[in-house]
């Protein structure tokens, strides 16, 4: 099930401070997006190509807006509804989000080892 994002975060090897690095955050987002899209498109995670555009996968505007909302809920910050158009593949979107300090900050608060229990609760 794609929405169990926090479980994939348990694979993240956080550093000693408990805050995941930018690369780890990007990898977590990639995993979350793969699970989400696999569930949405009824594909296996392995079939998904991270460089193929969401449009090529047949995502319509309603699904793209839904993705931005669900992604924002998981990350713990507001995500622009047009984000999947601005960064139209798993790779591009994950990189852009991990590059954003506000996203990293929200992610760190919600998914760091110290904060993880409250995020799971």
């Amino acid at each position: 099930m794609s929405l169990d994002g926090p479980h994939s975060v348990t694979k993240v090897n956080a550093d000693i401070s408990g805050i995941p690095s930018q690369g780890e955050i990007e990898q977590s987002i990639v995993e979350w997006l793969k699970n989400y899209l696999a569930d949405l498109l009824n594909l296996s995670v392995d079939e998904l190509d991270r460089s193929i555009t969401f449009q090529q996968y047949g995502l319509d505007s309603s699904a793209a807006v839904g993705l931005s909302g669900d992604l924002g809920m998981w990350l713990g910050c507001d995500i622009d509804p047009a984000i999947a158009y601005e960064f139209p593949s798993i790779n591009e979107l994950a990189k852009a989000l991990a590059d954003d300090a506000a996203v990293r900050n929200a992610f760190g608060k919600r998914h760091s080892i110290a904060g993880k229990e409250s995020a799971d609760a």
Partner: protein, 292 residues
């Protein structure tokens, strides 16, 4: 005259208009700017939403050509931000405002603006007492056609609108118009979300506006400003999310979710160029079919 929507009236029904706007003034007040302007702002720099909305109002007042001491008609009045500016800043002598929303009409009346006549009637039913010097219509045109009309009926309705504005304006008078248009997508697009929020409405194509206005108005200026709408919608969405718990308390979680999804979808529509936002300044053609 109340709810004077005749059988031939091409506009969305007053019930449909009220369905949208009568969710409650308080709800819109939560996420719109303090002037309660519910249409695309006009961005010039790094100003805030309230200033950008005033820029928009001023743009339309300027392009309506209205001067101090003159008479203005507003078609689709919203919550009265433009009327306030026309009366208190420009100093127009009189302003008439047509709306189909009971909640908006009451709101404007409660503002007790001097020399303003707020009418709960469609433009189709409007009969002015004297000629107007300028007309402004901001994002009401979207309700001038219904999805059940044929393309020909839709165009006829638009022609009747421009013909009426032509008849109501003094020679040389101007109409400043702002409307959402179909850009990449056509009439077959009618998403269920938009039906839940704006039932019974259909958007124009730019060429339908140009065709319908031919012979009645010359187009002096045309701007396509969809990027301005993306930025406006980002502000509204951000405001709504910041006041989410209050909004849920006011209208319920389901309604808030519908609006949040709707604002997101419309934002994407403008972002991708599925829809556009036209601002058009039109000048009355005074000698129809006469000497050239």
């Amino acid at each position: 005259m109340h709810n004077a929507v005749s059988h031939n009236d091409p506009c969305a029904s007053s019930e449909a208009i009220q369905f949208h706007y009568d969710v409650g003034n308080d709800f819109y007040q939560l996420w719109l700017d303090p002037t309660m302007t519910y249409s695309c702002a006009f961005w010039q720099g790094d100003e805030n939403l309230e200033t950008a909305q005033r820029n928009k109002i001023d743009w339309h007042l300027q392009h309506s050509g209205i001067q101090p001491g003159e008479r203005l008609l507003e078609i689709g009045g919203g919550w009265g931000g433009l009327l306030d500016r026309a009366i208190n800043h420009i100093g127009v002598k009189h302003a008439t405002s047509l709306t189909l929303s009971q909640a908006q009409a009451e709101w404007i009346r409660n503002r007790q603006l001097p020399n303003v006549d707020v009418r709960l009637e469609s433009w189709f039913a409007h009969t002015p007492d004297t000629l107007y010097d300028g007309i402004v219509s901001v994002e009401a045109f979207e309700a001038f056609a219904r999805p059940d009309q044929t393309d020909e009926e839709k165009l006829e309705g638009y022609k009747t609108f421009f013909q009426s504005c032509h008849r109501w304006l003094r020679p040389g008078g101007r109409l400043s118009l702002q409307t959402i248009t179909y850009e990449k997508l056509g009439r077959d697009w009618n998403h269920h979300i938009s039906e839940k929020v704006f039932p019974d409405e259909d958007l124009p194509h730019l060429e339908e506006i140009v065709t319908a206005a031919r012979g009645f108005f010359e187009i002096e200026l045309l701007r396509n400003d969809r990027a301005h709408y993306v930025r406006t919608l980002r502000c509204w969405l951000s405001n709504l999310r910041a006041k989410k718990s209050e909004a849920i308390e006011m209208v319920g979680a389901e309604k808030v979710a519908i609006y949040e999804k709707y604002l997101g979808l419309v934002l994407v529509g403008f972002y991708t160029g599925t829809m556009n936002l036209a601002r058009i300044s039109l000048r009355r053609i005074d000698s129809r079919g006469g000497w050239s």
